[in-house]
């Protein structure tokens, strides 16, 4: 329990620091919402008027304290551009981003796990080398590039998928999955390589263990050994990295969301940044940071609960 409490305190500190820093950063950088709103009029009067109206003329610490106080009660402020409450906007967009994440991790795994198993079975063999280097190549494809190529081939040329937008899940779950396939695949491809490599190296290490030799000596087929005995103990770091990726990707879907015109958190943030509308950016940073920190926390607990030995050993690498 001491461990959990210590972690929770750290978590709160990180969140506090992240939000304060982002608040500071957004406010100190030149160009603010008032200037943006007055872009047409362009007079100093207009700017100072707007600033007073938005409360931007008060000191940063006071405004931060105010924002934080409101944020705790679930009020993240309203966008200066379209007057929409930030929390409402986030609630509308978060499910899409989360679905995209789950979907992409699922796609990555159904490719990576069988490939990793096959590659580990004959490490160093032809199949191993081909699959490892193919996935290594895929790892080097920037996601905006992959998104464009997928768009060009599968929706513009072949017309199989919609180029932009998507069908809401509540409307038609199947069509929803179909319409999000390309964006999810784009996100999945880079992860595939990582997952496959991870599983492969862990499997190879597990296959050296004595109990595997024992199982083989008892006459078990190598496929059965692989699936029944080696697979499960080898998935530990894989599961961890999936968890961490999940946290990281909450903020990492933005380019894909922009290209496929999906109204998720990422696109919301980009639009707000480009509109120099910092209250929504602040809200999005908070949500993304909470997601990231919570997932890390969960992964840490997962370590501590499951296997303290591995937890400490990992730290050495």
């Amino acid at each position: 329990m001491r461990f959990v409490r210590k972690k929770l305190i750290q978590l709160a500190i990180v969140l506090f620091a992240v939000t304060f820093l982002s608040f500071l950063m957004l406010n100190l950088l030149p160009g603010d919402t008032a200037e943006r709103l007055c872009a047409g009029a362009g007079t100093d009067e207009c700017v100072s008027e707007k600033r007073a109206e938005l409360g931007l003329d008060r000191p940063i610490p006071i405004r931060y304290a105010e924002w934080l106080g409101n944020a705790v009660t679930g009020d993240l402020g309203t966008s200066a551009r379209n007057q929409q409450p930030v929390w409402e906007a986030i609630q509308q967009r978060l499910p899409l981003t989360l679905e995209l994440l789950l979907y992409s991790q699922f796609l990555a795994l159904i490719v990576a796990v069988p490939m990793g198993l096959l590659a580990a079975q004959r490490a160093g063999g032809l199949y191993d080398r081909i699959s490892t280097s193919t996935l290594f190549g895929l790892l080097s494809v920037p996601n905006f590039m992959l998104a464009l190529i997928l768009l060009l081939v599968f929706s513009k040329r072949l017309g199989w998928f919609p180029a932009v937008g998507y069908t809401p899940f509540t409307e038609n779950p199947l069509e929803n999955l179909w319409s999000l396939f390309l964006p999810a695949l784009t996100l999945a491809v880079a992860e595939m390589a990582v997952y496959m490599r991870l599983l492969r190296t862990d499997l190879i290490a597990t296959l050296q263990e004595d109990y595997i030799t024992m199982a083989k000596a008892k006459g078990m087929s190598s496929g059965r050994v692989l699936l029944r005995h080696a697979f499960r103990p080898s998935t530990f770091s894989l599961v961890t990295v999936i968890g961490l990726n999940f946290g990281r990707l909450i903020g990492g879907t933005l380019i894909v969301e922009v290209i496929f015109a999906l109204n998720g958190i990422g696109k919301y943030t980009v639009d707000s940044i480009l509109g120099q509308d910092y209250i929504p950016v602040q809200g999005a940073v908070l949500v993304i940071a909470i997601g990231y920190v919570l997932v890390n926390f969960a992964v840490d607990l997962f370590y501590a609960v499951l296997d303290p030995r591995i937890r400490h050993a990992r730290a050495l690498i």
Binding site: K6, K7, Q10, L11, I13, V14, L15, A17, V18, L21, S22, M25, L26, L29, P30, G31, A123, G124, S133, F136, L139, S140, P142, F144, M145, L148, L152, K156, R197, T201, I204, A205, S237, T240, L244, R248, G251, G252, L254, I255, I273, L274, V281, A284, V285, A289, Y292, V293, N296, V299, D300, Y303, A304, R311, H312, A313, R314, A315, L316, I317
Partner: protein, 322 residues
């Protein structure tokens, strides 16, 4: 920050590592035990049995491509290239003898723009990682060497940096400063690279600071500063540099992403990401406009990744620490 930091596990590989100091001193009479433990855990060890220690053909191929891009980019002003900023022919020509890579939607030569664009990518790639190395490296080595409160504070700050989504941080820096000069882009990507580099450097510093030669230097009366610069730095540098090669690739992709969102160096200066984005509208009829810079960028990133990966394996550094 609680005194003994163990990171909120921002990366699995370092989770709980704050307790390492005590951990190591318990295990280590000599560092033999530690090294044994490391080898037990080292997946590369198993790989190593299969792949012999050679850089291999792929590495040389990758280096050749990379140096070709590098040399062309450096020599761009001296080469007999068409003007990358002005229309030089009929717009939207497919690749042909006069325009090797075709022309873009206002008739600029894509071949010369790709080469000039390489300058931006490479400058941003290297400069931002150098910035990350200078700042992140210093933080990592200091945190790994002094441990305790220093480490807790420094690595805690790195956790905060990491909790910012990387591209978002860069986006905010570039877009709110309004002036997206190359310096700002370098600054943005450089700042983003600080935290991962710091973690990596700290991890290897932790291992090296337990070695005999450090104890020997200390017992001979060497100051902390001297131990850090003379004993630890040279050892940490090599693995970190090979990771940095991959870091450059990541930075190039990040610049591409910013350019793709219209937030890198402003037009008409050619950048790969910018060209890919410009060609997006013409994707249906003239896919080469986007695909050629895409392909060049992919090859460059691939060659850096491959070279970095091979060098890393060559020097046998633990997998997955980035």
């Amino acid at each position: 920050m609680p005194e003994r930091s163990s990171d909120p596990g921002s990366s699995s590989f370092f989770a709980g590592s704050g307790d390492m100091a005590s951990e190591i001193s318990q295990i280590a009479d000599g560092d033999v035990a530690v090294l044994d433990l490391l080898q037990d855990l080292d997946p590369g060890q198993v790989d190593g049995a299969v792949a012999k220690k050679r850089l291999g053909f792929g590495f040389w191929l990758a280096s050749t491509w990379f140096f070709l891009v590098l040399v062309l980019a450096i020599l761009a002003p001296l080469l007999p290239l068409k003007d990358p900023l002005l229309p030089v022919g009929r717009p939207r020509q497919s690749p042909n003898i006069e325009f090797w890579f075709g022309t873009d939607s206002i008739g600029r030569d894509i071949f010369s723009r790709v080469i000039w664009g390489g300058r931006v990518s490479l400058v941003v790639g290297f400069a931002s990682i150098l910035l990350g190395l200078a700042v992140g490296g210093t933080i990592g080595i200091v945190a790994g060497y002094y441990k305790r409160r220093t480490e807790a504070f420094l690595m805690g700050s790195m956790d905060v940096l990491l909790a910012f989504p990387a591209l978002l941080l860069a986006l905010v820096i570039v877009s709110f400063t309004g002036d997206n000069s190359i310096t700002n882009v370098v600054l943005a990507i450089g700042i983003v690279s600080i935290a991962p580099i710091a973690r990596l450097v700290r991890a290897s510093t932790l291992v090296f600071s337990q070695r005999e030669f450090v104890t020997a230097a200390r017992s001979l009366g060497a100051s902390n500063g001297r131990i850090i610069t003379r004993e630890i730095l040279p050892n940490v540098l090599l693995p970190v540099l090979s990771f940095s090669i991959i870091g450059v690739a990541v930075a190039i992709v990040a610049e591409g992403g910013l350019a793709f969102l219209g937030l890198s160096v402003p037009p008409p200066t050619p950048t790969w990401g910018g060209m890919i984005n410009d060609g997006r509208a013409q994707l249906d009829n003239h896919p080469y406009m986007s695909l050629i810079p895409c392909f060049i960028m992919f090859l460059t990133v691939l060659s850096l990744n491959l070279a970095g990966d091979r060098i890393r394996e060559y020097f046998d550094i633990k997998e997955g620490a980035l």
